[in-house]
C-alpha cells in the first residue's frame, strides 16, 4: 500500500521534471554542447586523440598573450580589491544616508559599463591630446610618448579599473557591514591598537570575501575583449584578442589551434569562478 503510494508519488515527481525540459534543452544546446564540441576538436587531429593542438598553442606569441592577460587581470584585480575595499569602507562609514545611497548607486550603474564607449571616454581623458594629459603637461608631467600611453597595456589597466572598482565595492559592502562594532570595541578594550584590530581581527574575517572578490575580478578582466579591442586593436597581445582574430579570419585555416587556446582560457576562467563560488559559500556560512 505505502509502496504503491510512494511509487505513484515518485512517478508524479518524475513527470514534474518534464516542466524543466525547455530550459535544460536551451542550456544543453547553447552552453553544454558547443563547449563540448570545442573540447573534443581541441583534443583531436585527423580523428585521433592528441595533445598536439595544445603544443602548437604554446608558441612564444601565444605564451606571451597568456602572460599579458594574466598580468593585466592580476594587476587590475589586485588594485580593484585594494581600492574597492577602501572606497567601500569610506562609503559605509559616511554619516549621510543620501551620500551613501548615491555612491552605492553610482557603483551599481558603472559596474556593468564597459566596451567601446568606455574605451572612447578614456581616449578623451587620457589620450595623447586628452584633457588630463594636457593638465598634467601644464604642471610639468609629460605623459606622451614615454611615461604612459592609453593605447597600451597600462592604459588598458586604467580603463579596466573603471568596471573593476565598482564591482569590488558592491561585492565587499555586505562583508564590511558584517563586521560588528562590538568586535572592534572588544579588541580595543583588550589593549589592541586600531592597526592590530584590522590586521588580527577584521582581515582574517574578511579574507574569504577579499580572495573571492579577487578571483571574480580576475575572471571579469581575463574574459574582457571589447574594451581592449576598441582601445588598442591588435596592438596589445591578449588571449581574447588572439582568439577573436582566429575566429574572424584564420579559423578556416587552423580551427583546432583556436579551440586549444579557447580551452586553455576556459580552464583559467573555470578555476576562478569555482574558487569564487567556494569562497562565497564559506563567507556566507561564517557570516551566519
Amino acid at each position: 500500500m505505502t509502496n504503491r503510494v510512494r511509487s505513484r508519488k515518485s512517478i508524479k515527481g518524475l513527470w514534474a521534471w518534464l516542466g524543466l525540459v525547455p530550459f535544460f534543452l536551451f542550456g544543453i544546446a547553447f552552453e553544454i554542447i558547443p563547449v563540448l564540441t570545442l573540447a573534443r576538436s581541441s583534443l583531436t587531429a585527423r580523428d585521433t586523440f592528441t595533445l598536439q593542438n595544445f603544443e602548437r598553442a604554446l608558441t612564444p606569441i601565444f605564451i606571451e598573450s597568456f602572460r599579458n592577460s594574466i598580468q593585466l587581470s592580476a594587476a587590475t584585480a589586485f588594485l580593484g580589491v585594494v581600492f574597492g575595499t577602501l572606497v567601500a569602507y569610506a562609503i559605509i562609514t559616511t554619516r549621510s544616508v543620501w551620500v551613501r545611497n548615491a555612491l552605492t548607486a553610482l557603483a551599481d550603474v558603472t559596474t556593468n559599463f564597459g566596451g567601446a564607449p568606455l574605451a572612447f571616454a578614456f581616449i578623451v581623458v587620457l589620450g595623447s591630446t586628452g584633457i588630463v594629459t594636457l593638465i598634467l603637461k601644464m604642471i610639468g608631467i609629460t605623459l606622451y610618448p614615454d611615461l604612459f600611453r592609453i593605447y597600451s597595456i597600462q592604459g588598458l589597466a586604467v580603463a579596466y579599473l573603471y568596471f573593476q572598482l565598482p564591482l569590488m565595492i558592491l561585492l565587499i559592502i555586505p562583508s564590511l557591514l558584517g563586521l560588528r562594532r562590538e568586535w572592534r570595541e572588544a579588541a580595543i578594550n583588550l589593549g589592541a591598537s586600531a592597526a592590530q584590530y584590522w590586521l588580527r581581527v577584521a582581515l582574517p574575517i574578511l579574507l574569504p570575501s577579499l580572495l573571492g572578490g579577487f578571483l571574480l575580478l580576475f575572471a571579469n578582466s581575463f574574459g574582457a575583449y571589447a574594451t581592449a579591442w576598441t582601445l588598442t586593436g591588435p596592438d596589445v597581445n591578449l588571449v581574447t584578442v588572439q582568439i577573436a582574430a582566429l575566429v574572424r579570419g584564420e579559423v578556416q585555416l587552423d580551427p583546432a589551434l583556436a579551440d586549444a587556446l579557447a580551452m586553455l582560457s576556459l580552464a583559467i576562467m573555470t578555476l576562478c569562478i569555482a574558487g569564487y563560488q567556494w569562497l562565497g559559500g564559506r563567507a556566507r556560512k561564517e557570516g551566519r
Binding site: A16, F113, P117, A121, L165, G223
Partner: protein
C-alpha cells in the same frame, strides 16, 4: 583625530567620484566642442557632430538593430526563465542546482570563446542559424541568463508561492491562470529588474555581435567602434548615447528595487 579621519574619507570619496564621472563628462563636452585637443577648454561649442552622426541612415539602422536584439533576448529569456523558475520552486526543488549550474556557466565563458564554440558547433549541423541574428539572440540569451534568473528566483523566494498557488487552485484556476494572474503580478518587480539588466547587457554587447554576425547585421556598438577609428568627434556623440542608455537603465533598476522587490544582483559580464 576625528577631523583627520573625516578628511581621509572625503579625499577617497572625491577621487573615486572624479574617476567615475570625469570620463563621462569629458566625453559629453568633447562631443559638443568645435575643437578640444590643444587647449584646456574647448575652442567653441557646436552641435555639428551630433547633427552629422544622427542624420546618417546607418545611425537609425544600427540603433534599431540593437533594440531588436535586446528586446528579442529580453522577451525570450522572460518566457523561458519565469515559468521554469516557478515550476522548480513549486514542484521540483531538486532541479534547482542544475538550473543554477546552467546560470553560472555564462560567467565562466569569455564572449570570444562562446562565439567560437557556437560557430564551431552550428556550422556542422544543418540548422539555418549561423551568421543570422537568431544565433546572436541565442548567444545573448546565454550571457544574460544569470541576470534574468537571479532577480526572478529572489522574488519567488520572497513570496509564499505554495500558499498562493493552493489558494488560486482551490478557486478553480488552472496552471496557466495561476502563473499569469497570481504569481507573475507578485514577482513583477523581479521580472522587470531582470528584463532591464538583460536589456542593458545586450544593448552594449559588442564581442558577440562582432564575431557572430559582424557587418551582416550591424548593431549600435559595432557602429560606434567603426567611428572611433574614423571620426572621433562623431564617435563621442555615439558614446554619450551609450552611456546615457546604460545609466538610465541602471537607475531604473535601482528605483524599482528601492520601491519593493529586492535589489537586483548585478555582476559584471565584460
Amino acid at each position: 583625530m576625528k577631523n583627520d579621519r573625516g578628511i581621509w574619507r572625503i579625499v577617497v570619496l572625491t577621487l573615486f567620484l572624479m574617476f567615475m564621472i570625469v570620463p563621462f563628462l569629458a566625453t559629453v563636452l568633447f562631443s559638443i566642442s568645435v575643437r578640444w585637443d590643444r587647449t584646456l577648454w574647448p575652442e567653441g561649442l557646436t552641435l555639428e557632430w551630433w547633427d552629422k552622426v544622427t542624420s546618417r541612415s546607418a545611425f537609425e539602422t544600427t540603433l534599431t538593430n540593437s533594440f531588436i536584439v535586446s528586446f528579442a533576448t529580453m522577451f525570450a529569456l522572460a518566457l523561458l526563465v519565469t515559468p521554469t523558475a516557478y515550476w522548480a520552486h513549486m514542484r521540483v526543488p531538486r532541479g534547482k542546482p542544475f538550473i543554477e549550474f546552467l546560470t553560472i556557466i555564462p560567467f565562466g565563458i569569455p564572449g570570444v570563446v562562446l562565439a567560437l564554440a557556437l560557430i564551431r558547433f552550428y556550422s556542422q549541423v544543418p540548422l539555418p542559424l549561423i551568421n543570422t541574428p537568431s544565433i546572436l539572440v541565442a548567444a545573448c540569451m546565454v550571457i544574460a541568463l544569470p541576470f534574468m534568473y537571479r532577480p526572478v528566483a529572489n522574488a519567488l523566494d520572497a513570496i509564499d508561492i505554495h500558499g498562493l498557488t493552493e489558494a488560486a487552485q482551490s478557486l478553480g484556476a488552472g496552471l496557466g491562470q495561476t502563473l499569469l494572474r497570481v504569481i507573475v503580478p507578485n514577482i513583477m518587480p523581479g521580472i522587470i529588474s531582470g528584463c532591464l539588466l538583460v536589456f542593458s547587457t545586450v544593448f552594449a554587447e559588442f564581442t558577440l555581435a562582432n564575431l557572430l554576425v559582424g557587418t551582416r547585421f550591424k548593431t549600435f556598438p559595432i557602429y560606434l567602434v567603426e567611428f572611433t577609428r574614423f571620426d572621433g568627434r562623431q564617435a563621442s556623440a555615439l558614446a554619450v548615447i551609450s552611456f546615457v542608455i546604460a545609466w538610465l537603465t541602471s537607475l531604473l533598476i535601482i528605483w524599482i528595487a528601492g520601491r519593493g522587490g529586492r535589489p537586483a544582483e548585478s555582476l559584471g559580464a565584460r
